[in-house]
């Protein structure tokens, strides 16, 4: 492929044609300063058309030059006979040679190649153009390419992980948008996002509702719109709200247990630990002491505990507590 260096009038460069655009960054501030200071170091690559030029690589450089009031630009021009595939390969190679591409840029690059190659060939071809992609990543990137532009933007902003984005991509658009906005607004950790996503999906299935309907619930909205609590407090309240909807019996049971424990009011440093998930039958009491006097005090507290009616309830009422809930 031969490039011929030419001086091109910017007025005939078709900046609206984004066929070969890979970069997701729109910011040209740094580029403006650099070009203004030392000029255009790397000429963009253009494809000659009968009357205009299509940008293959260098969208931001051209935008910066136009912004600086330039009327012409030094460019490397590809002949009009160059095929779409050849132009796509140039665009990918030029972009990946200068920086590592983010997920969205990789998915755009692969989408270009997938018009011409099957999966196996595309992995090989991408490698030759500077993209290291394996079969598993290829599948993710193919799905990424299908995501809505709004979700792609949240990935780029770092609000949601690719895994979460791909899950959102499987949903109806209003549901995906509602969740995306929830994550955008509360910015929970990726692990909490995953937990919320799973909960919401399952609650929606249980209740035969769409996720967007679920997230339009009055109580949920009241948490989201509450201006008196912090973002972290909102996250905690919403997680608890989801947990209560997903596992009402378990949540209520745990609340009852906590109430009993409060009423028992064990001294500090004595802890009653129930079996995991209340599945086993073995409870533990853990207490710390520093000397014999403290040991005696704790022992007396434990002796009193034996007679505490609420303590006995923990064992005797385990099932009865549930009955009142069901």
């Amino acid at each position: 492929m031969l490039f011929s260096p030419q001086t091109i009038a910017l007025s005939i460069v078709d900046v609206a044609d984004t066929t070969y655009k890979i970069s997701t960054s729109e910011s040209i501030e740094e580029l403006l300063a650099s070009i203004n200071c030392i000029g255009l170091l790397s000429p963009p690559i253009l494809k000659k058309n009968p009357r205009t030029y299509t940008i293959i690589s260098g969208f931001k450089r051209i935008a910066a030059c136009i912004n600086l009031g330039w009327t012409t630009i030094e460019a490397r021009v590809v002949d009009y006979k160059a095929s779409d595939l050849q132009c796509a390969r140039i665009a990918i190679a030029d972009n990946s040679a200068n920086r590592s591409l983010n997920f969205i840029e990789q998915s755009i690059s692969l989408s270009m190649l997938l018009n011409y190659y099957d999966d196996k060939e595309v992995i090989r071809e991408a490698k030759g153009l500077g993209l290291n992609i394996n079969a598993s990543l290829l599948e993710k990137l193919k799905k990424t390419a299908q995501l809505s532009s709004e979700i792609k933007k949240t990935i780029l902003r770092g609000t949601i992980s690719l895994t979460i984005a791909l899950e959102l991509g499987k949903m109806d658009k209003p549901s995906a948008m509602a969740l995306s906005q929830l994550f955008e607004s509360l910015n929970p950790t990726f692990n909490i996002q995953k937990e919320m996503l799973t909960m919401v999906k399952e609650i929606a299935r249980i209740k035969d509702l769409s996720i967007s309907q679920l997230l339009n619930d009055k109580y949920f909205l009241s948490i989201m719109e509450n201006g008196e609590i912090s973002r972290n407090q909102k996250v905690q309240k919403i997680r608890y709200y989801f947990k209560k909807m997903r596992n009402p019996v378990i949540t209520q049971f745990e609340e009852n247990f906590d109430c009993l424990m409060q009423r028992i009011d064990l001294p500090d440093e004595i802890k009653l630990i129930p079996p995991d998930n209340f599945e086993g039958t073995r409870y533990s009491i853990v207490f710390n002491f520093q000397n014999l006097k403290e040991f005696e005090f704790k022992k007396e507290a434990l002796d009193k505990l034996m007679l505490h009616p609420e303590f006995i309830k923990i064992f005797e009422k385990e099932i009865a507590d549930y009955k009142s809930l069901h």
């Binding site: 019996v249 378990i250 599945e279 549930y322």
Partner: protein
């Protein structure tokens, strides 16, 4: 589900069962050098579970025909003995553990029946009370439409007095066994569920009415019966629907002819969840209130199980006060809070089941 691919292990090509199955299925077959080839084909398909139900492999059981049930020490086990006749199932239940138990799941029938007979002879010669069943890794009776051999097993058990055979099924493939001289050493048992669950979660199985009618026919031929409410699914209104099933059960068969009724709520290895979600889009069974149990399986929250069992047991007791009810894999706390005692008070669950089998099936008391 229809078998579309028949694979025959070269080692068993001239076994009598193979010819009979080829003739009966009347589909092209592929001779293979070992089961690995079939595993590869099934694993490579988009839905290996589905593919595994269409591919039948005729092969040898190279391991033990007689095995102990893989229970865990954390929960009370019935100490069942498995007669390993084959694997997987032509029916398609959403909750089926076999979907994630075998890697990949493949319909296999072990045709080295002489070895199976020899294994049984060896067991029988011990003169030890045993409850032996074929329904752990497969449905006991699906094979009757492919290669009927339940009658031979029934006859085999009829000739001894220490062990009973339990044939557990969701089919009504009983025509071949009705007239067999069983000597009450074979218990015909059915898995039961609510009509709603049968319809939504048990693809390709017989209806509740059909199962109960089949049970009644077997009873009329003198067979002792058993029923398994397992897995019971907890959903809104389930108690009433299980009560309806229980009432229907006792309107079809006599409680006096029931050797045991087992109860077990849905439990599953975590890996099954994704399979159910993928293969049974409309199923909600994996969205119950589950916790991770002491055996790492997902189980309904214990207080929920206890409350549910209490109701189910009260419904059964109302109609059949004396029938033996037991739990499959529950702990002492559940037993005590629902049935009212710990099996160890009665010598343990295996002993309780053996005693019931002795009473109903006339097992010999002699134990060497």
């Amino acid at each position: 589900m229809q078998i579309t691919n028949l694979y025959i292990d070269r080692d068993v090509l001239d076994y009598p069962a193979v010819d009979a199955i080829r003739t009966r299925l009347n589909i092209p077959h592929t001779v293979i050098e070992g089961p690995e080839k079939v595993y590869e084909i099934v694993s490579a398909s988009a839905d290996p579970v589905e593919s595994g139900k269409h591919a039948l492999l005729l092969t040898k059981n190279k391991g033990a025909f007689i095995r102990n049930c893989p229970g865990t020490v954390k929960y009370t086990c019935c100490d069942y003995t498995i007669l390993h006749i084959g694997t997987f199932c032509t029916m398609d239940c959403s909750y089926c553990i076999l979907q994630s138990y075998f890697h990949p799941p493949v319909l296999q029938l072990f045709v080295n029946h002489d070895d199976m007979t020899a294994s049984l002879d060896s067991v029988f010669s011990q003169n030890k009370k045993m409850r032996i069943g074929t329904g752990e890794f497969t449905d006991s009776m699906i094979w009757e439409t492919i290669y009927p051999f339940a009658d031979k097993l029934i006859l085999k058990f009829a000739k001894q007095t220490h062990a009973i055979l339990e044939l557990k099924t969701k089919t009504v493939n009983i025509s071949n066994i009705l007239e067999v001289s069983h000597n009450r050493k074979t218990i015909l048992s059915w898995s039961l569920n609510t009509e709603r669950i049968i319809k939504s979660e048990e693809r390709g199985t017989s209806s509740l009415d059909a199962r109960l009618n089949a049970a009644a026919r077997c009873q009329s031929k003198g067979y002792p019966l058993a029923f398994h409410f397992d897995p019971m699914i907890i959903y809104p209104g389930c108690e009433k629907e299980y009560q309806d099933v229980i009432e229907k059960l006792f309107s079809h068969v006599s409680s006096e002819n029931i050797v045991w009724i087992s109860l077990g709520t849905f439990r599953f290895m975590p890996a099954l969840k994704a399979i159910v979600e993928k293969r049974f889009e409309h199923s909600k069974i994996v969205y119950g209130e589950f916790i991770k149990g002491m055996d790492a399986k997902m189980r309904y929250f214990k207080p929920l199980r206890i409350s549910f069992y209490q109701k189910i047991i009260s419904y059964i007791r109302l109609l059949a006060p004396d029938v033996l009810i037991y739990f499959c894999m529950e702990d002492t706390e559940v037993w005590e809070k629902t049935i009212g005692f710990d099996p160890s008070d009665y010598g343990g669950l295996p002993r309780m089941l053996d005693d019931s089998a002795t009473r109903h099936c006339g097992l010999s008391e002699d134990i060497n």
